[in-house]
Point group: C2
Chain length 342, copies 2
């Protein structure tokens, strides 16, 4: 006998629509769908996700009512990148005793970047006996990919990572906070010297330390402009970035540990030139050295698939805010068998 896992899709934007389709195709029961965008409210979640069937689950902007009106086991929250923004949504799921997994990048390892709200959520989830966690692309490609290679390593002295994305794909707001289009003087004044938020590889460096049992001695972030020797047209900015001006930036996060190994991760976000593509490259230095390269990762699909593959482990985890460093690796599940509860 099987029982479908009952899921609320919380956020039905670009990622939410992929998540809805993956959830449905893997055999989950969509019991609710939440979004506040006027173009989405009232529309059938199945139609919005491009499914070949109607789910007869209208997207609602009344999140409280959706949680009150179903006995969901899981909420999949795809709303924002920062803990401050996702907090009320995680809190709502936890208050209703519903396990929640979120694409929020900071939630991947928020214990030190947002300790107060993470601990409050942890406390609340333990009181209501549910589990909260963050996952996505970084869970595999900045996390367990490195852990699996480390498992073949005798002594690690240093881990170097490089991840690169095209800010053209994410709209004007992101392009501007990356300093795209600024002269180097403007970049220095407006970006490098300003109080900046930690890059998401800050959180993943901390995740790696937790995974390896390392204690952090220091964390540093440096923001460096990226440039090209040719002019770089930008659709998002609506103009061409002159040669030598910033096309974006690299956030370099350096983590030193008391156990010895350092983790230095570069997160490059810029307007790409014609020959540039997304990259994800990591080198473990030590005995021996190992370098891994992922060519042009499909970050959105990889994020959504990882989230869905994590759900059985989310249900299996103890109550609390349980970051995925404490879980087994996300596991591919063949449609549809393993996705049902026994």
């Amino acid at each position: 006998m099987y029982e479908k896992i009952r899921v609320i899709q919380y956020g039905c934007g670009k990622m939410g629509r992929i998540l809805l389709r993956y959830l449905y195709e893997k055999g989950a029961e969509i019991v609710g769908a939440i979004d506040t965008h006027p173009d989405l409210v009232g529309h059938d979640a199945g139609q919005v996700a491009g499914l070949p069937v109607r789910l007869n689950v209208p997207i609602s902007d009344d999140a409280e009512q959706v949680f009150a009106d179903s006995d969901a086991q899981v909420a999949v929250i795809a709303i924002s990148s920062l803990m401050d923004d996702v907090y009320p949504h995680l809190e709502r799921a936890a208050r209703h005793g519903v396990n929640a997994i979120t694409t929020c990048e900071e939630a991947f390892y928020p214990w030190t970047t947002s300790p107060h709200i993470t601990n409050r959520l942890d406390r609340l989830a333990k009181d209501t006996f549910c589990t909260l966690c963050g996952s996505g692309y970084q869970d595999v490609f900045w996390g367990n990919l490195i852990a699996v290679l480390a498992g073949a390593t005798h002594q690690i002295t240093r881990i170097e990572g490089l991840t690169s994305y095209n800010v053209e794909d994410y709209g004007i707001a992101l392009a501007e906070v990356h300093g795209a289009g600024l002269s180097l003087e403007e970049f220095d004044r407006q970006i490098a010297q300003s109080e900046s938020l930690p890059s998401f590889v800050w959180n993943s460096n901390e995740w790696l330390c937790a995974r390896f049992g390392w204690t952090i001695r220091s964390m540093q972030q440096e923001l460096v402009p990226t440039t090209r020797e040719e002019d770089t047209p930008s659709e998002t900015l609506g103009r061409t970035i002159p040669a030598g001006h910033a096309t974006g930036m690299t956030a370099i996060v350096t983590t030193e540990t008391y156990q010895g190994p350092a983790i230095v991760t570069q997160s490059v976000g810029k307007v790409y030139g014609p020959d540039e593509v997304d990259r994800n490259e990591w080198t473990i230095q030590g005995e021996p050295n190992t370098t891994v390269t992922i060519a042009q990762p499909a970050t959105e699909e990889l994020t959504c698939a990882t989230i869905v593959n994590r759900i059985p482990q989310l249900l299996d985890a103890p109550p609390g805010f349980v970051t995925t460093d404490k879980m087994p690796i996300a596991t591919y599940r063949t449609y549809p068998l393993q996705f049902y509860l026994l």
Copy 2:
């Protein structure tokens, strides 16, 4: 309070010496060392391994006596690549109730290539309450590396692997069974048409199917000569391979499953030209596609480190022949804490 894990190093050749050093550096207690090579017998295991200290453990050619004379928890067996050859050594460890892990490539997943002896060992290990398994480079780079990427994948339709090694590194016997130096007509007659042993990626394809819960519908192996357009000097053969002759071969193992996905793995073993290097590349096809490349893996060190990192999981596993598809991923352990029993 800590207790060092007591280990017998069984086989003190090229791999055994690296293993001895890794074991010692990670805090294991070397309680016995076995090898039959006259150059090694009687010599101190620490000296043979190049350690800065004497272990006062002489390498012995009397394996029975070494097992009788210690209360080892683990035997690390680095002797041969095939189950038929490693069987008496695994049997000896199991008969003495000593957990054993071996570099034997076939032992990585021997359930269908050597079912009779694997089941006998499984039965014996359950009777004596110990665990046997095979691990090494393939555990991570043909196994869990793919499993970790699969965990970020929604639907897998096909997995393609390519692994390449230089037969120059492994002596004349290996070069000859790879057909290095033969004309294409000779290759066809002597290699392609002959009854050949399964390539080791046969076993790793089966491991992947076990890991993903897939049932095998068919397994096929094809042997294809590799050639170059230039002459290729070979130190191992002691001559130059003419352009167009076989420099070695590719074993292509195709695994079809009832669940749908196919696994096609190419194992290339040849005399390298000046521009060729070791490779390990895998592509998961489906939604989405993901390609991973490992540049020039240090296969020997990676094998030994994986074996040592697996030991705590070997001790933690239930009795029997437990292939590593049933274990968590091999885990990097920081010197020396986690290597001690609580």
